[in-house]
Symmetry: C2
Subunit: 322 residues, 2 copies
Amino acid sequence: MFRESPREPTHDGVLRAAGKIAALLPPTPLLPIEIGGVRIHAKADVLQPIGAFKIRGAWHRLTDLTPHERAAGVIAVSSGNHAQGVAWAARELGIAAAIVMPADAPKVKLAATRALGAEVILYDRAGGEDRDAIANALCDERGRVLVHAYADPWVIEGQGSMGIEIAAQLGREPSRMVVCCGGGGLAAGLALACPGAAIHPVEPDGWDDVKLSLERGEIVRVGANPPRTICDAIQTPSTAPINFAVLKRRAEPGVSVSDDEVRRAQRFAFDRLRLVVEPGGAAALAAALAGKVPLDEGTVVTLTGGNTDAEAFAAMLEATAG
Amino acid sequence: MFRESPREPTHDGVLRAAGKIAALLPPTPLLPIEIGGVRIHAKADVLQPIGAFKIRGAWHRLTDLTPHERAAGVIAVSSGNHAQGVAWAARELGIAAAIVMPADAPKVKLAATRALGAEVILYDRAGGEDRDAIANALCDERGRVLVHAYADPWVIEGQGSMGIEIAAQLGREPSRMVVCCGGGGLAAGLALACPGAAIHPVEPDGWDDVKLSLERGEIVRVGANPPRTICDAIQTPSTAPINFAVLKRRAEPGVSVSDDEVRRAQRFAFDRLRLVVEPGGAAALAAALAGKVPLDEGTVVTLTGGNTDAEAFAAMLEATAG
């Protein structure tokens, strides 16, 4: 399913990505919050221009394309945030982009990706279509480069730039990062960025393939009939060898969170941080609030995305009332 | 109604305040937005620890109290954001604070002020009680310093620190600042901060006393039966001489916005910036979106507060659907 990677992601690559990102975008805020009497920080990457951290990896990948590759264009696969990251970077650089997206992605994500000028190709996630197979076929057919959402060394390094920013903002390497985890691109990138930090991947209940993979020491896919989750952004069937190679060395045991725990985290972000955080972007905060990960003063939780339909957000506010 | 001020606010005072704020709090993001094809910026002061810019003036004022004044404590008057600013600064500095607040203030603002350790004294805004008279009497009775929400040179200078931050972030003085305006503390502070910038005060329809005062060249109070407004934070009956002295020299003609225009701005901030902005904090953006102020590439709109009850925010999302 995953194509072989041309190289491994490295700490130096993360630093190079961080330099490119710093020249492009101001650092997103690192906001103090208090949970159970412990003062930690939340990294507000929902404030990126596309409303998600995915702009980092996309920028690092697309700016490293050869002139020939730029002319051919790129293909990406995404439930919506990586789609917008690739579409944004492609528009800035004048590169053609086609994105394979699930037909049931949030409407705001489909609309935003199209508004950025990308071609959107829908697939049937619920029906079990293999999005990577569709994308690989498109790449072969059009002679384009695949920009995978997580199984790509540039994407991993680019996401890792968040860790370099966090360390600069804290004035020291964080002791612990609690990370929203789909395919493991951000978790692997942060592990490479901050060699001394404990990395806690957080997944939705029933979509905890990284947690299971870490327990078994080999990549495990989610089961045949996974439950529904509101965390569309991190609803990923499995991690990839290039991500797992980093995570199996570096990650702490994984944890998973329920939809209700995620909604409580979204509400916390609304009340205390005045931030709109989508479900998948609130998973790490949910784990911290639910007491599922240890917290100390050097802990940072990632708020990775804020692209949510208004109806879903209003329903969350109602569900968490009182 | 307003006590005589001990001194005038100055540009140097704004710079001194900006230095104190910079040592305390990281700059809030200056986010690019596009309105009608013009790329402007929004200053996200909703991301301050108390969710509003009022922390600036409160910090500048309380840190300049004499030891005797610190020991006696402070009194403030506020619909909620200045209350939290004073309560936050007082807690940090170990100063007793009592805040006179309208009984109909948003519940989140009353709760947050109490949570910061301040004593809350309620008054009947709807019934027309004079909050300044209550506060002045309390100051005399307890021998405390009044920290007025806008009629105070330190408060004006402290709010003005936002302008110094904006200029540093833009790399030049903004050409134009569109400012949510209640009593005129922020508008006067920004005028002092950026002597070359056009200052556009924005008020709620029917609460446009600053607009009328600028037109007539003298301070005018709102009419006897002003309409309801959702902008509780800037529902202020009149500006004060110390503010008007600056504004009559420096402000552009005032504009006012309707509740519907404000809701559209809140929705824009939700969709495009992933920020929770309260009605009064969205007034400047509302004026920009409604075409009521000129826009150019050096324009900055202030997003001044994000403290809103969840039910009101959900209702806004529903009202702005489709």
